[in-house]
Symmetry: C2
Subunit: 121 residues, 2 copies
DNA sequence: CTGTATCCTTATAGATACTG
DNA sequence: CAGTATCTATAAGGATACAG
């Protein structure tokens, strides 16, 4: 595990799965079991149907989520595959990091803003 | 740690730090100590000077990387702050996941492609 | 309720040339 | 060598209306 993380290596593959707004949050929302789209949307907050569909399609394409169509009408469920479940650990690591260090990030951002406005007076 | 990961919560903050192509790789490349921009570029592969500058500025803004200007001429070093260093653990978790499960992701992608071309014959 | 179709805005990234 | 300036292409995301 040395150059493993550099640009053209395998870790890119995992990073790319995290490199958008909704992928990690959707995976986390499905951690306790299958959800129907409407419920999924509710838990995610302000995601549009279009973006939700795009997101789950993307996750499905990568083998992390499976879509189950139960019946002819609008009854659908999304759930984690085993592969998707295996990603919950790393995702949680980030959540815990944010829990511990989120303040420091916001402080850093404020510091920059403070410098800017501070220079004026 | 229940709704901690949903859209408007703190974990967004950590996810956003990963939600682009270069942030995590740059942090990882700096894990062993300060690097000058040229060396950093070399290790990252195909990143342009423009994108590298944008990336380190972003990381600096969020308090993860510090820029040290040593002298009047073009002598600069980038290194991890303590905060940046604290992110190496979660990042490594993804790297290890990719190491173990990367094949499965690629297999899933191929499976979809296979279905498409398989339907033709 | 599920999903698609538009339209629009913005951020990312890459290529290239140039300045100090 | 470090960084900026353009220009371009693309994808993500959001708003809204509509279809099955």
């Amino acid at each position: 595990m040395n150059d493993v993380f550099l640009a053209d290596c395998r870790a890119r593959l995992a990073f790319d799965l995290m490199a958008n707004t909704w992928n990690p949050v959707v995976l986390w929302a499905l951690r306790d079991g299958a959800l129907r789209p409407a419920e999924l949307r509710r838990r995610l907050g302000g995601i549009s149907t279009k973006v939700l569909t795009e997101t789950v399609r993307r996750l499905e394409f990568n083998g992390l989520v499976s879509r189950r169509d139960c019946g002819r009408t609008a009854k659908v469920e999304y759930s984690l595959t085993d592969l998707g479940t295996s990603l919950l650990g790393p995702i949680e690591a980030f959540g815990e990091w944010a829990f511990r260090h989120g303040d420091e990030v916001m402080a850093a951002q404020d510091r920059v803003v403070g410098l800017v406005s501070g220079n004026e007076g």
